[in-house]
């Protein structure tokens, strides 16, 4: 263990950083795209919403390996195609939770907001998104875990990250390298999930006095 850290310590840090960096950007893009689309879908008619949700589900069914490989003809190799592939994966859970969370807001509240004279935008920002925040955050947490796990595969198309250890370990039959890559991925996923859990608690609207 100690000798492994002595030999690969610096590399481990670098790969962990790469891993985190790829995942974070993919997730961030996912949030930026999926949340607004999910919100807008609640204002579109049901057919449009169903079509969009189906497309997102379909993207989710493409095997991760295949999707990564598919990126190469378009974006070459390196971290950019990896980020794009992971971004596509992150979409569905966020999109679905945003849409369902928004749909789940008590109709009476939306009716009241509208009846009070809120514009559609005010209703979304002041009422619907805050009420749906816990569900949206749950979707983001789920996506984050997926993205971190799958980012290990990204090393396959030269994106770096902790996957490098795992793939090297597989090629060289080195258990220590496999574990040295896998364990940090697990820890990373757990830590990020825990942090996002904190964030979820923070954005959950207060409904009682402290």
């Amino acid at each position: 263990m100690m000798s492994f850290l002595q030999t690969y310590g610096a590399q481990l840090l670098l790969k962990t950083w790469q891993h985190l960096y790829i995942s974070a950007i993919a997730l961030l893009l996912g949030v930026i795209v999926a949340v607004p689309i999910g919100v807008l879908l609640t204002r579109a008619n049901d057919t449009v919403a169903n079509v969009v949700m189906s497309i997102a589900s379909m993207l989710q069914t493409i095997p991760a390996m295949a999707l990564l490989a598919l990126m190469i003809p378009f974006f070459g190799i390196g971290s950019v195609p990896a980020i794009i592939a992971l971004f596509i994966y992150s979409l569905l859970p966020i999109l679905r939770n945003t849409y369902l969370g928004m749909k789940d807001v008590e109709p009476a509240l939306i009716d009241a907001a509208k009846g009070m004279g809120m514009t559609s935008g005010q209703s979304i920002i002041k009422v619907e998104v805050p009420m749906a925040a816990p569900v949206i955050m749950a979707g983001i947490r789920l996506s984050a875990t997926y993205v971190i796990a799958w980012a290990a595969l990204a090393s396959y198309i030269g994106a770096g990250g902790l996957g490098d250890f795992i793939f090297n370990g597989l090629n060289l039959y080195r258990t220590d390298l496999i574990l040295g890559g896998s364990i940090p991925v697990i820890i990373l996923a757990l830590v990020v999930d825990w942090l996002l859990g904190k964030l979820e608690a923070a954005v959950t609207p207060r409904t009682t006095q402290a």
Partner: protein, 395 residues
Amino acid sequence: MEHLNKTYPGGKVAVEDFNLEIEKGEFVCFIGTSGSGKTTTMRMINRMLSQTSGTIKLNGEDIGKMDPVKLRRQIGYVIQNIGLMPHMTIRDNITLVPRLLKWPQEKMNERAKEMIKLVELPEDYLDRYPSQLSGGQQQRIGVVRALAADQDLVLMDEPFGALDPITREALQDLVKDLQERLGKTFVFVTHDMDEALKLSTRIVVMDGGKIMQVDTPDGILRHPANEFVENLIGKDRLIQARPSITTVGQVMLKDPIATTPGKSLTDALRLMHDKRVDSLLVTDEAGILKGVIGIEDVDYNFNSATSVSDIMKKDLFYVQSSSLIRDTVERILKRGLKNIPVVDDNHRLVGIVTRATLVDIVYDALWGDEEADEETNNIHHGEDADSASAKGGEA
């Protein structure tokens, strides 16, 4: 204040040719069964729904041409599910509309305090969240939220339907009081006739998207326009309302025993004996009520007086046949009179109300017709009830 004429055919007709003018300061209840179009009509007023045709005017201005968001900010809106924002404090909930209108913070704070006082809740509730209040308290906040931005018109959609009877009554009193004190106009949707009768200045009865009747609560009770309205009011209520809408003429005994002033005391005494009564009303030939004589007068003056006119009491208490029982019962009871002559508009004697008649009225008001529950009759009415229950048994 408003002139609204709306037809709303959209495959299914929800509201059909609805015409109504609401004056400022009125409390108008829309009442009807579910699907009668009452909520639909109300929601068209603040453009939560748009009408297929027809126009609604608010203060002479066509609301169809106004910005719906601005329109809604000047109309109070209270819904059945209360709809307080659970993630906002009571203060923020009350000042929701003022905040949308960008009032200065200070004015909003002041208004929040004013409003919470209006509904008799302590000021420290302002910092609480809706979930910390009971349902009744929450709806109190719901009501003042609709008033906080000085809305002149308040729409209420079955606001108290989900509350227990005691809380509901307290809130009805509150709303009625606010309406009378603040002079706001209320449009109130309900399916509860008691609520409508209690609160409104006018009731709009709707069925199948059409207006069945528009009248004051009294008017509705007195002259239900058709069977639907009658059923909606309910038999019980019509009976209960009887003292307040029946006239004396409807309950009096007709053909009272009367004599004329020219008759001799002997004739009068004979008449009393024949009819088994202890007093006689005195009318002239045209039937105009002149006075009354009692047996004690006859007895006392039998030797000194000759004709009825000599001994009759001229100042006697009487009632008009067209006056309401509600207004007369108490006077009759208070004076302790045995019987009261009833006259028409021309002061002609048309009937008599005895204390036995009053018993009937009170009895009907409390227990309805004879078919009413036998047990109740037995308990409360010795002999009468026995015969009533006997009849009920045969039926």
